[in-house]
Amino acid sequence: MNDVIEAHGLGKRYGRRWALTDCTLEIPAGRVVGLVGPNGAGKTTLLHLAVGLLRPSAGSITVLGGRPGEGPGQLRRIGFVAQDAPTYASLSVADHLRLGAWMNPSWDRGLAQQRITRLGLDAKQKAGRLSGGQRAQLALTLAVAKRPDLLILDEPVASLDPLARREFLQGLMEVVADQGVSVVLSSHLVADLERVCDFLVVLVGSRIQLAGEIETLLATHRRLIGPRHDPDTLPSSQHVIDERHTDRQSTILVQTDEPVLDPSWAVEELDLEDLVLAYMGRTAANGSQPSIVEVRA
């Protein structure tokens, strides 16, 4: 079993509204996965299904080979930090560590202590009086010190200022380098994820629009700029993701595994932000159900 998360036709319904629809996904181990999408796209729903806080209304999800929330053995292997890094305001930093040690059999006291010291946190300080960045770091410490195989972080940096954001991601990457833990983190900002993630999942309007290794995604998408073309004349290996036309010029974003040979095109590479925005814009513009593009290495 090499996938940390596997979902098949996964869906979650609240009343009549589907917060997550027909989600099929395979996330290999050892990746830092960025889950991106606008607010309300279903990111938190997907993460809560993965940690077992929610039960699926349709389909199935397997995390680390088991059903989420199935038993203590499963819970022990997952570190989860919910949105806004919840901590107990009236408990001190030291109390949080004691609580972590008490509740987690695999607790790594040394690691927890080392992180707190390096962060310069005062053990006696009440969590309610910590800054947002410090609170996020404390929550990450609790999740990391249980030595999980999978860390799931819901919008971990959304409420942090740029410096705290950077410090948080530095700490997180250090943990990944040190422990080889798999990570899934969500964000509505691609820029936060660009450097830290190697796998991307784009979720828009309750559906997965794009999933794959970032390197492969970037290598298989190109922007073609040239004299006006009819997109129907493109080779069948080029899938149009986005197109714009003026009376003279066409700008077409294609997904293709093959080199673009037509010399009338100027071919440009995309950065991650362009790519994600193209997939997001596609759903907004069409209003219809787009086909899921799956890119595999």
Partner: protein, 130 residues
């Protein structure tokens, strides 16, 4: 020990920037044989980037014979960039300056010169691949 930095607006991928900075360090003599490169953990803790990015850069450097990894110890510089390339800089620079004068006389401004230069490097690169 050198320290890496990333320019997010350069359009060059982070892994290539690390490779370039090591090569640059070798060329300028900031790095020489036997020097240790920062550990993967140190680099990611400093730059907040994915560890695989650093590993990929170090692998490429290893592949080109400039560094070698000693498991459990670190990555060390094993080679210098040929001085031959350094010696060639002078004449190449003079050629380029002559060419620049020609280009200006032909009416090209800096932007057109840069565009032309980049285009030539790109097409030459593609011919190499093909």
């Amino acid at each position: 020990m050198i320290e890496f930095h990333l320019d997010s607006r350069s359009g060059v991928s982070p892994y290539q920037q690390i490779v370039q900075q090591v090569r640059h360090g070798l060329r300028l003599g900031l790095l020489s044989e036997g020097d240790q490169l920062p550990t993967v953990k140190d680099v990611v803790a400093q730059l907040a980037i994915n560890p695989n990015t650093v590993l990929k850069a170090y692998k490429e450097l290893e592949h080109s014979g400039l560094v070698s990894a000693r498991p459990g110890v670190g990555t060390f510089v094993t080679n210098t960039l040929g001085d031959g390339s350094f010696a060639a800089h002078g004449p190449l620079r003079r050629d380029l300056q002559r060419w620049l004068t020609k280009a200006r006389r032909a009416g090209l401004d800096e932007e057109s010169i840069e565009a032309l230069f980049r285009e030539c490097i790109r097409t030459a690169g593609e011919e190499d691949v093909a």
